[in-house]
Amino acid sequence: MLPGAARDTNRPRLQRAPEVQKFRRFRSSQVSNRIERDSPGNDVERDHSPSGSGFAGVGSVDMRLLTHNLLSSHVRGVGPRGFPLRLQATEVRINPVEFNPDFIVRMIPKVEWAALLEAADHLHLIQVPKEPIQGYEHNEEFLRKMHHVLLEVEVLEGTLQCPESGRVFPISRGIPNMLLSDEETET
């Protein structure tokens, strides 16, 4: 299954009840503890909600690091120096997604690795390898790690800053707002 798609019907799904959400959300500074404790491939454990009850419906999806990897500042005159955007998060959550190794294998070559490293670092995530390791296509541990970093970490609240101009774009309720004001778009 891929990100955004419905979850595996066999597994208990995350309830979107507020208390569950609170449980799963935390400040970005706490993320590292949580992630390091859990092993990357342990989706099942992370999937449990306190009550263990069934799925309440398709939940919302917030900004993921795979998306961050594509974002660049379009402030006038900045060009390629607007990438990558500097990510700061005040609220992050882990949203388990079913692991699909084929998908991850295909995604790896498309990732701008330095940008990913930087973003993962800002979110205090587990150490991401400096580059795709040799033979990564068959390395499940590596793939699961990347799956987690790219698809399961969601930013609910935070900012994206243009490294060149300093312009800040907000992320609120999981949605980045990349619109420039009228003054900024006019010459």
Binding site: L2, G59, S60, M107, F169, G174, I175, N177
Partner: protein
């Protein structure tokens, strides 16, 4: 440097010092003259350059003004409309267009895809093997998409916040036709090409001018959306959740109070100015007055409708924002008033003989499973059609008449074709020729089930409040056959067209980004 003939031979006549002196004098004269000549040449060259610069600056200034006007028009008649109508789409289910769906499903697993102008995200989950990112200018719509489990963001098609060559495929369904100048349309397409990988594909859908059930006389139109239809549908159908009759979610309506001068709620101008002249392009012609999708309730209410049994379509002509138009205006040294009043004043209403009293609207609507994202995508009517002539009850337009009708600068009135057609004018609105106004009123009273652009709005609405509460006007530049392809070939060389065609009243193109690009 032009040469100045030196008197030769003459100098050689005298001999000795005198000769030398003469030569020197001649040379000096020559030099002086040459200098002057050079100087004047440089001067004129400089002046020419200055003029060029100035004319370039003028051109740039014109372009900026036009771009600003375009942005204002789009804000008012695209973005604001979508934002205001977004709440009506919150629980609508709409199906994806088959060809778009097919395009998405054909993408390789693991592809990164962007839906630029995703609205409520109906294409974002078509293919679970790819990663699709939805983008839209309208935050409320994007929120809806997010709540459905799609990853989305708010951004501007003209300034996509993505690095170059990030996406394997992009879809732009019913978006480009909302840009009000050719330049902006090109810019939007170029932006999408920029963020595509070489070899990546782009699919574009735009509304076609050539329609089976509707007749657009102009390419730049404002189409009303009747929000009452949506709520009506909801109660009528009794289905859980609302039907997306309202077509592709669009920006909110700019709601304008009825024009005080003519009591016409469609003429949105605060101050009616009949003196304003327009160039040929910007006629305010309204063709196809009234269109109402007949709902059950409508039929019950109106025997008239029972007779006709079909629906009407309406749209309002908008002023074309293209370069030539603006330039002409500036050349004529007419002050360009605030874009808002400009855009508003360009709207006029007129029942058109040609129009389209089309009948047989998407009973897709009445069929109930209609996916109305159809403002763009109109399904041709399946049933028999009847054509009704527009009642010519309106008086001939009076050029001085404030508010409703505008004339062209050259005296053309609402386009040559419509010149003879009767027009709605203030008097008519007020007095209301019996049958005509009754007709209009009836039509307006009928429930229009279609949020389809161009749906049922009574032009001669005599109850401004009724219309106002329903009407939102969305701007479209409807495309002629071949226009979209032409645009790509002419101005977006980085894209190579793979296929093109017509799909349910939309011109569509699939293009590929060339491998060898700068």
């Amino acid at each position: 440097m032009s040469s100045f003939p030196i008197p030769n031979g003459d100098l050689s006549v005298a001999e000795g010092g005198c000769q030398d002196q003469m030569r020197k004098d001649a040379l000096k004269r020559h030099a002086a003259v040459t200098q002057v000549r050079v100087h004047s040449e440089i001067c004129s060259e400089y002046i020419l350059r200055e003029e060029l610069v100035e004319s370039n600056l003028n051109r740039i200034h014109c372009e900026e003004q036009m771009d600003h006007a375009a942005a204002q028009l789009e804000k008012q008649h695209v973005h604001d409309v979508y934002e205001s109508t977004a709440p009506y789409f919150s629980d609508l289910q709409s199906k994806a267009w088959p060809r778009v769906r097919q395009f998405l499903q054909e993408q390789k697993p693991g592809s990164l895809i962007a839906d630029i102008g995703c609205g409520t995200g109906k294409y974002l989950k078509v293919n679970s093997q790819v990663h699709t990112l939805g983008c839209d200018y309208c935050a409320p719509l994007v929120e809806i998409a997010r709540s459905r489990g799609c990853e989305v963001m708010v951004c501007d098609n003209l300034n996509l916040p993505f690095r170059d060559q990030g996406f394997d495929a992009i879809i732009s369904i019913g978006v480009i036709h909302h840009f009000s100048t050719k330049q902006r349309r090109i810019r939007a397409i170029k932006e999408m090409a920029r963020v595509l990988v070489p070899g990546g594909q782009l699919m574009i859908y735009v509304w076609a001018m050539e329609q089976k059930n509707r007749h657009f006389e102009k390419q730049d139109v404002l189409v009303p959306w009747n929000k009452a239809l949506c709520s009506q549908r909801l109660s009528e159908s009794g289905q859980p959740g609302r039907k997306q009759e309202c077509g592709r979610p669009e920006r909110g309506y700019p709601y304008h109070p009825a024009c005080s001068a003519c009591h016409c709620s469609v003429c949105f101008e605060g101050r009616c100015n009949s003196k304003r002249s327009h160039s040929v392009d910007c006629d305010s012609v309204l063709a196809g007055t009234c269109c109402a999708n007949i709902s059950k309730e409508g039929e019950e209410e109106n025997g008239f409708y029972n007779t006709l049994g079909k629906s009407f379509r309406s749209w309002f002509s908008s002023r074309s924002l293209d370069e030539s138009t603006l330039r002409k205006q500036i050349e004529k040294v007419r002050p360009l008033k605030s874009t808002e009043s400009w855009a508003n004043s360009a709207i006029s209403i007129q029942p058109s003989r040609h129009s389209s009293f089309d009948l047989g609207h998407p009973e897709t609507l009445s069929a109930g499973e209609q996916n109305l994202d159809e403002e763009v995508f109109v399904e041709p009517s399946q049933g028999p059609r009847e054509w009704l002539r527009a009642p010519t009850t309106c008086k001939q337009l009076n050029g001085d008449h404030p508010g409703v009708i505008r004339r062209n600068g050259d005296g053309h009135f609402l386009g040559g074709v419509n010149a003879k057609e009767s027009c709605v004018d203030e008097d008519n609105l007020e007095e209301g020729t019996a049958s005509g106004s009754k007709l209009w009123r009836r039509i307006s009273a009928a429930d229009s089930t279609d949020s389809n652009p161009g749906d049922a709005i009574s032009v001669e609405e005599q109850q401004p409040d009724v219309l106002d509460s329903r009407a939102f006007m969305r701007y479209y530049h409807v495309f002629r056959e071949g226009e979209l392809c032409g645009l790509l070939k002419e101005s977006v060389s980085e894209l190579h067209i793979l296929s093109s065609g017509n799909d349910h009243g939309n011109w569509c193109v699939i293009a590929e980004k060339r491998e060898s690009c700068d």
